[in-house]
């Protein structure tokens, strides 16, 4: 999206210099009338709740024990001392980074693949959209059933190949890897679509010229495809990291955060604390931590946007 807004003066007509105060006022009123519903909606259901979360993080609010006390930074101190929060945070970071990396690699491969000419390409592009379009909770449950240690499809295949029936979702490491791979399965198609749109913007003459100059396809990829895709890749990395940091549905359906807390993400823990255990104070404190992480990544992202001239 180009942030440089068009300089057309819609309300007061064409002339740039017919600048009367009443026209300017009308212009402001028009703008705010148009934007007001969207802003009101965002402020009341997004900005205000975030401020509420910050406020609540200084209180001990527990619906079960009916408490509502100002406790200062107690909630945060409790979080810092909680060993499970450390494990949850480190898994969240690993989940986010590994997923984002794999999605970009596979997304790039699929985008290039869907950009080559072959019969059935249109169908392949359509089918590629399906994982994006289905509910995450259904994908999560379908994979949970596929990974079932007795009757699951995957386990049957592993048994036929290697003669063992591994209980993949029972051990911490295998369940963490399984969750990440399923997340990659769900999100890569979206990555691929966006990267593909970028590739289609590259004029084919560029590749033609490179080939005439004797570049092989790997060199063309390195020196044409990658540089052209950098702004898109940065945008994708930023939003993927932020969205995956607060992932919830997949974990809720596929592992319920287990075994133990091995696959619990921060977002899932916030939901557990807030909506299942009614411990709103700590849930909010953890929410504030998540907002801070997102803000830091957002600032880095904005800096990179500026550096690589990405226009939102």
């Amino acid at each position: 999206m180009n942030m440089k807004l068009s300089k057309v003066r819609l309300v007061e007509g064409n002339s740039k210099y017919s600048y009367k105060l009443s026209n300017t006022t009308r212009r402001y009123i028009t703008f705010f009338l148009l934007v007001a519903p969207a802003l009101l909606l965002r402020i009341s259901t997004s900005v205000y709740p975030v401020l509420q979360t910050i406020y609540l993080s200084f209180f001990e609010v527990n619906l079960v024990s009916q408490t509502n006390l100002y406790v200062g930074l107690q909630n945060f101190i409790r979080l810092a001392r909680d060993i499970s929060i450390r494990d949850i945070t480190s898994f969240t970071i690993m989940f986010t980074l590994l997923s984002t990396l794999l999605e970009l690699i596979f997304g790039m491969i699929i985008a290039n693949f869907l950009n080559t000419n072959f019969t059935g390409r249109q169908l392949a592009r359509t089918i590629n959209l399906i994982p994006w379009a289905i509910p995450t909770i259904v994908a999560a449950l379908a994979f949970r059933w596929m990974f079932d240690d007795q009757y699951g499809l995957i386990v049957d295949w592993i048994y036929r190949l290697f003669g063992i029936r591994p209980a993949l979702l029972v051990f911490p490491l295998t369940s963490q890897l399984s969750v990440i791979l399923v997340n990659v399965w769900k999100n890569t198609p979206f990555t691929a679509i966006v990267l593909l749109a970028g590739l289609q913007n590259v004029p084919p003459e560029l590749y033609e010229a490179a080939r005439i100059d004797g570049a092989n396809s790997l060199q063309a990829f390195r020196w044409i495809t990658i540089p052209v895709s950098v702004p898109i890749i940065i945008t994708l990395i930023l939003f993927h990291i932020i969205w995956q940091l607060s992932g919830f549905d997949l974990i809720y359906g596929m592992t319920s955060g287990g075994p133990g807390i091995a696959t619990t993400l921060i977002g899932y823990r916030i939901f557990q604390k807030g909506m299942l255990w009614y411990d709103w104070g700590t849930a909010s404190a953890l929410g504030v931590v998540l907002i801070l992480i997102v803000a830091i990544i957002g600032i880095i992202g904005l800096y990179l946007f500026k550096k690589y001239e990405v226009t939102l």
């Binding site: 999206m1 807004l5 819609l10 007509g13 064409n14 028009t30 705010f32 148009l34 934007v35 969207a38 909606l41 009341s44 259901t45 205000y48 709740p49 975030v50 509420q52 693949f113 072959f118 392949a124 592009r125 590629n128 959209l129 399906i130 994982p131 379009a133 289905i134 509910p135 995450t136 909770i137 259904v138 994908a139 449950l141 379908a142 994979f143 059933w145 079932d148 009757y151 699951g152 499809l153 049957d156 036929r160 198609p189 966006v194 593909l196 749109a197 970028g198 898109i232 945008t235 930023l238 939003f239 359906g253 977002g267 916030i270 807030g274 849930a283 998540l290 907002i291 997102v294 939102l312």
Partner: protein, 284 residues
């Protein structure tokens, strides 16, 4: 020898690789759907077998059982209302805002737009507790309207982002001519801009419908009665119901298939529009 030569045909390794890649790609994407589908049409007593029945004798008994055991039609209606309501509210609100941002520039409006787009990054899970309190105070817990309100808000930043770039593609001369002819703002939007934007509005409508249909967090947090539960919540509840045999994977699969099929149909009908809409924000 000559006859043998006739059977020697060249296999282009590039083409072969391409189609092997295609098969692998389709396989990885479609396997979960195959598994969900055959589980949905396998009777319960054959579902839990080692090895699994790869080609079961199809039956619809699981779907019949599902409709008997949960208020399926209420949940379906709620999901559809939630999806349509969210699309209507989010697209109309976003369209107005996008028109303001794209055509009525005032000092600072681009900063405001940047802020709005970046608010996409706020994790929805963080706002669940305060939103629960707000909706409770408004008496909107357990209502579809409450769900539509919060879900629309979540989708507004993306929708505005996409619509701004769609509006900017329209040549402004037509609107200018209408203004000179004395069209008021509502007339301008209704008679000139909206007819031109029909495909773009339909695109965002479809994408937002899919997003609402797939959403789990909000209905899970704000709906606890049949009145406002959606299919996404109901599949988690079916999953919770344990029987002596373990999870009711027959019912989960049947419900999963009913949730997936409408989305697959939507994708096949409107894949071009969806791709344009999804990539419009990131690509100019």
């Amino acid at each position: 020898m000559k006859i043998l030569n006739r059977f020697k045909f060249k296999v282009n390794p590039k083409i072969l690789g391409l189609y092997l890649g295609l098969i692998l790609f389709l396989f990885i994407i479609l396997v979960p759907f195959y598994w969900l589908f055959i589980s949905a049409i396998t009777p319960f007593n054959q579902l839990f077998s080692i090895p699994p029945h790869y080609f079961p004798k199809p039956t619809l008994i699981n779907f019949v059982k599902l409709i008997k055991e949960i208020p399926f039609y209420s949940y379906l209606r709620n999901s559809v209302l939630f999806g349509i309501g969210t699309s209507l509210l989010s697209v109309s609100v976003s369209f107005l805002a996008a028109y303001g941002f794209a055509r009525v520039a005032i000092p600072g409006s681009n900063i405001l737009l940047l802020g709005l787009v970046l608010s996409m990054a706020l994790p929805e899970i963080v706002t669940v507790v305060p939103l629960f309190r707000i909706l409770r105070n408004l008496g909107m817990i357990n209502t579809i309207q409450g769900l539509i309100l919060v879900m629309s808000s979540t989708l507004v930043p993306f929708t505005v982002w996409v619509l701004v770039s769609f509006i900017k593609q329209i040549p402004i001369e037509i609107e200018e001519a209408a203004i000179i002819d004395g069209a008021s703002l509502p007339q301008l939007l209704w008679d000139i801009v909206i007819p031109m934007m029909k495909p773009s509005l339909a695109t965002t409508f479809i994408i937002n419908f899919i997003n609402a249909w797939n959403n789990l967090v909000y209905p899970l947090a704000f709906s606890s009665t049949t009145k406002a539960k959606t299919l996404s919540v109901s599949i988690t509840e079916v999953f919770q119901a344990r029987s002596p045999y373990g999870r009711p994977w027959d019912l989960i699969s049947a419900l999963g298939i009913t949730m997936v099929v409408p989305m697959v149909i939507l994708v096949f009908i409107s894949q071009r529009a969806i791709i344009t809409g999804l990539t419009r924000g990131a690509i100019k």
